[in-house]
């Protein structure tokens, strides 16, 4: 998945079913981007065919698609192989068996890219399974281990990363992976026929060129250099088989709607294993090329991975306890404490194991995003008062039963990254809130218990969200806010509408979370830079507008609100903008960290984002015969099975089945793994 993708509400992943959450993790930025320069836009009737169009595109964009002889590679590069990194799978893993799981909805397509492709099945077809050039090590921050690339070298001077492909690498249909496939993948991502503007935009802006040296050597030149450039170049971009997409063109959506592409991962999906509307079964690729490679061995152990379509979480739970499913995610307190308590017969008798695993990932930024362009909310005292008036502490302690924790700041959860000294969420305190409101002129309490100012305006704000599952937390903070004399009106909209309202800055307060994929450092530009609040944020000396604080002076009275951006607080603080620009230019962690801490401090002082909550773990229940490594999972796992470290112990499965018939029991297993807990 692409690391820069931050998407609405996806963070509820930790509470909702995997499927629903992933729909959003993938959907990315909604703004349409212009088609890449020079791309062919010929209509279907005149489309010359994929290979001819690819050749024409390469010719037209020869400064992007480059070729060079092997001798052109600098000799002084330091080639890396990731060999020094530890493996994270368990050598005792046993292959075979069928792992039975669920998806909440049958996918609308089997494509893994293009419209509707970001459904619940996509991670199992692509993100969790397919192999990219390199992969981020899930226990070590900013470390790469080999995938399709056997070796790689970074050259910060030229902003280029070189890759040597593994000659063993094969697609599921046995065809070798070569640089021709890489060239195709870039053409594919940048083509307007893909019908996914976000990809077009990303692959036009992120990379300035790719250079092919021979069938197994390639280099990516990035537009910006960052400390994690190797991962950005190698780990975040999928490689698609050129031969399979030979019919790609303007009508490719129709042609490829129900054809799963053969990719490089351990599983494949064949037509025979798709039961439309009912189930999907992945099967292990025969003689998978990476079966014995370091970092890939002892993973992807089940021979078959079956997904049944079950829509309701309660029904999924019933199917799980009946023994029809092997694993069920217990992230929701309701399931962990009520439906499957430790005293549940299946748990007490040891048939089902309950496991809680503390992971280390960037947390979805749950919180109240206060739109300061709305009346009263431009007053910092009111905003800070709302911090003290919003009882997320109660939501954490009593609704999430102490499992959730307040977010310290926007960058909470990043490995090796501190939010900043002393930056913490403000606790619920109606007295402090009232003092601040009173300072802002809201001194009188009306007959309804809501504070008013001298002009008779009530302290009443609407909270907008697009997440139906947030009804209860919202109802809780609404009742609590009355203690501070604030009225919250609740507006629970449909997912898309809710997010759109916030992105168009029509909200007063939005309860929204932006989720990011597991990346190394936080980003601030999208959410806090003034150019994402106003189109005319800065003035050049000649009076024209610019987006950069470094190029001009702040516009004293900006008027044009920039919509469709993630600056949902409409923050426009010139000092912060200069810091963000320096942060984005910084090329080392040492330079970035102090800037990040200062930015977090400004965010805290500015008080436009009321820190929400995070669930710092994933939890699951699974049948006893599902086995895991001794450490259970890896630090950067978002879901229990994301890295496919588990296996089915066939003998144990039989033993459990026999025991259930005979009534024999096992010792109960309720496990907590907190080796990565902060």
């Amino acid at each position: 998945m692409i690391s820069s993708r931050r998407s609405p509400f996806a963070g509820f992943a930790t509470l909702m079913s995997l499927a629903a959450a992933l729909v959003l993790t993938g959907c990315g930025k909604k703004d349409a981007a212009p088609a890449p320069a020079g791309a062919t836009t010929s209509a279907s009737s005149t489309f010359p065919g994929m290979e001819a169009d690819l050749a024409a595109t390469m010719k037209a964009q020869s400064d992007f698609y480059r070729t060079a002889p092997l001798s052109a590679i600098p000799a002084d590069l330091k080639w890396e192989t990731g060999a020094e990194l530890p493996e994270f799978s368990d050598p005792n893993a046993k292959e075979g068996g069928t792992f039975r799981y669920y998806i909440a909805d049958f996918p609308r397509t089997l494509r893994t890219i293009g419209p509707d492709a970001t459904g619940g099945i996509r991670p199992y077809l692509l993100d969790f399974v397919a192999i990219n050039l390199v992969h981020a090590h899930p226990n070590v921050a900013n470390a790469a281990f080999p995938g399709l690339a056997r070796e790689w070298a970074a050259d910060p001077k030229t902003k280029t990363v070189y890759f040597r492909l593994d000659p063993d690498a094969r697609f599921a249909d046995g065809k070798p992976v070569t640089t021709a496939d890489i060239v195709f993948s870039f053409y594919f991502f940048r083509s307007p026929h893909l019908r996914q503007p976000w990809y077009n935009d990303f692959y036009t802006k992120t990379f300035s060129s790719i250079t092919v040296y021979d069938a197994y050597t390639v280099a990516y030149t990035l537009a910006d250099w960052k400390p994690d450039a190797v991962l950005r170049a190698g780990a975040d971009n999928s490689i698609y088989p050129r031969h399979f997409f030979s019919e790609f063109g303007p009508d490719w959506l129709d042609k490829y709607q129900w054809r799963a592409a053969p990719l490089t991962g351990a599983y494949e999906l064949t037509d025979a294993n798709v039961e439309k509307g009912r189930s999907i079964t992945l099967t292990a690729v025969k003689n998978w090329w990476a079966r014995d490679k370091k970092f890939w061995r002892h993973r992807y152990n089940p021979a078959r991975y079956r997904f049944d379509v079950i829509r309701e979480p309660d029904k999924i739970f019933e199917a799980f306890t009946r023994g029809d499913l092997d694993l069920f995610r217990l992230d929701q307190p309701k399931f962990w404490y009520e439906s499957l308590p430790d005293s549940h017969p299946l748990v007490a008798s040891g048939y089902i194991t309950k496991t809680k695993f503390f992971n280390r990932i960037p947390r979805p930024s749950y919180g109240l995003w206060i739109n300061r362009t709305k009346p009263a909310l431009d007053n910092r005292d009111i905003r800070e008062g709302l911090h003290f008036a919003t009882n997320f502490d109660l939501v954490c302690s009593q609704y999430f039963r102490g499992d959730a924790r307040r977010l310290d700041g926007q960058s909470d959860g990043y490995t090796d990254w501190d939010v900043g000294p002393g930056i913490r969420a403000r606790p619920f305190d109606p007295v402090k809130a009232r003092a601040l409101f009173s300072r802002a002129g809201y001194t009188e309490q009306g007959p309804d218990g809501i504070l008013r100012n001298a002009a008779g305006q009530r302290l009443s704000f609407t909270i907008t969200t697009g997440d139906q599952t947030l009804r209860d937390p919202l109802s809780i903070i609404q009742q609590e806010a009355l203690k501070a004399g604030v009225e919250y009106k609740l507006e629970v909209l449909d997912r898309t509408t809710g997010f759109k309202k916030v992105q168009e800055k029509n909200h007063e307060i939005g309860l929204v979370a932006l989720a990011s994929s597991v990346e190394v450092y936080p980003r601030y530009w999208e959410t806090y830079h003034g150019s994402n609040a106003y189109e005319d944020a800065y003035l050049r000396p000649d009076g024209s507008f610019t987006d950069k604080a470094s190029e001009g002076t702040p516009n004293p009275a900006p008027k044009k609100i920039r919509v469709q951006t993630n600056n949902m607080t409409e923050t426009f603080v010139p000092e912060m903008d200069r810091l963000i620009e320096s942060y984005d230019r910084a090329e080392t962690f040492a330079a970035m960290k102090p800037l990040s801490a200062r930015i977090e401090e400004l965010i805290q002082n500015d008080a436009a984002w009321v820190n929400g909550w995070q669930l710092p773990f994933h939890r699951a229940g699974y049948w006893r015969y599902v086995k895991w490594p001794a450490t259970y999972n890896v630090a950067h796992s978002r879901y229990p099975d994301e890295f496919f470290l588990h296996w089915i112990d066939q003998d144990e499965k039989k033993a459990v089945e026999d025991a259930r018939r005979s009534g024999r029991t096992f010792p109960a297993q309720i496990l907590t793994f907190d080796q990565f807990k902060k």
């Binding site: 309660d314 009593q398 009306g446 007959p447 139906q468 009804r471 501070a484 009106k489 449909d494």
Partner: protein
């Protein structure tokens, strides 16, 4: 307009009411329903976290309706609304002359009834006054049902008024004028009826957060068409009667003929539909709330409880309470409806005016 008093004082109508009273099931259902409606109207006196009467330091308070009283007014240290249950306990412990009289069920439909404890559904607890238990964020189910019922009643009265007004006006006009107007209106109605109403409501509700009024307008706009058909045919029939011609000859205006002469004679058809309209409105509101497209949280409603109940099957008291309440109300309304239909059966009585 003197339409209603005239309709009610009509001896034929009186006969119909007598017949209605004779149909026992419907009549008793009506009494129960009327009783429930009265309870819902004065819900604040029965189910409420505000006390009925407080006597504090010789002063009397009646907090049920009107402005809130803060904790500070009763010598406590907080500026928000006083918790009367705590106040009651405190006064009792003090043993002084201060008194609090709480309603029979001392909980509001919105508040967290287990302060300081986990949010989870709790089974009925008669000692605490949670006769139907609490929902997933510790709110009293009985309170939510009663206030939800009140919302449903409000909604269905508004719905009835709106659809009948539109339906009767358009139906009468179509029947009376006939010809091109009738033809065009019929086509318009056909097209309008073919719009799937639930989808439109869901669509609109997902863009705007509906309040009771807006929801009423949206649902009402798509529900008045069937009434026009009945009114149209009845008016057609009445129009050819001699008394209408007589009125025309006497120079009565169109409005007068429709509303003073024709309408009273077709009203009996309308009356029989009312209970079923009410039942339909309650079901519509419940299903919208169930789907999450109804009234915004935390508005109490039966549909919202059903939704919670189906998501918490391990807390059966939620779904049982909501389901029973819904079935009870809908059955009562339907029984009344059947009785009205029998009592007003035009085959038994025909009126000419």
């Amino acid at each position: 307009m003197k339409l209603l008093p005239r309709f009610l004082s009509d001896p034929q109508t009186k006969k119909k009411f007598a017949r209605f009273r004779a149909i026992k099931r419907g009549y008793y259902s009506f009494l129960v329903l009327a009783g429930l409606t009265v309870l819902a109207i004065v819900a604040e006196l029965l189910v409420n976290n505000r006390a009925l009467v407080v006597r504090y330091e010789g002063e009397w308070f009646f907090p049920t309706y009107g402005a809130i009283h803060t904790g500070k007014e009763f010598g406590l240290d907080y500026a928000y609304e006083v918790n009367y249950r705590d106040l009651d306990a405190r006064f009792k412990a003090d043993g002084g002359r201060n008194r609090v009289v709480l309603p029979p069920v001392p909980y509001s439909p919105l508040e967290n009834c287990y302060v300081g404890e986990t949010f989870r559904p709790r089974p009925p607890d008669w000692s605490k006054g949670h006769y139907f238990g609490t929902d997933q964020i510790n709110r009293d189910i009985l309170a939510r049902l009663l206030y939800g019922f009140r919302n449903a009643l409000l909604f269905s009265s508004g719905f009835f008024a709106m659809t009948y007004l539109l339906g009767i006006v358009f139906g009468c006009l179509m029947g009376y004028f006939g010809g091109t107007f009738d033809l065009i209106m019929q086509r318009v109605i056909e097209v309008w009826s073919n719009i799937p109403f639930l989808f439109v409501v869901i669509f609109v509700a997902s863009i705007l957060t509906p309040n009771l009024g807006l929801l009423l307008v949206i649902v009402g706009l798509f529900s008045w068409m069937s009434m026009t058909q009945y009114m149209r045919t009845s008016t057609y029939r009445e129009k050819s009667r001699d008394y209408v011609h007589a009125a025309e000859v006497l120079g009565a205006s169109t409005g007068r003929i429709i509303f003073n002469h024709i309408l009273p004679n077709v009203l009996s058809t309308v009356v029989t539909f009312i209970p079923f309209t009410v039942a339909g409105a309650i079901s519509a509101l419940t299903s919208l709330d169930f789907l999450g497209f109804g009234l915004p949280p935390p508005t109490p409603s039966c549909g919202e409880l059903l939704r919670q109940g189906t998501a918490n099957l391990n807390a059966p008291w939620i779904v049982i309470s909501a389901f029973t309440a819904l079935v009870l109300v809908l059955s009562l309304v339907t029984f009344v409806g059947e009785a009205v239909r029998d009592a007003f059966d035009p085959k038994k009585f025909t009126t000419y005016q």
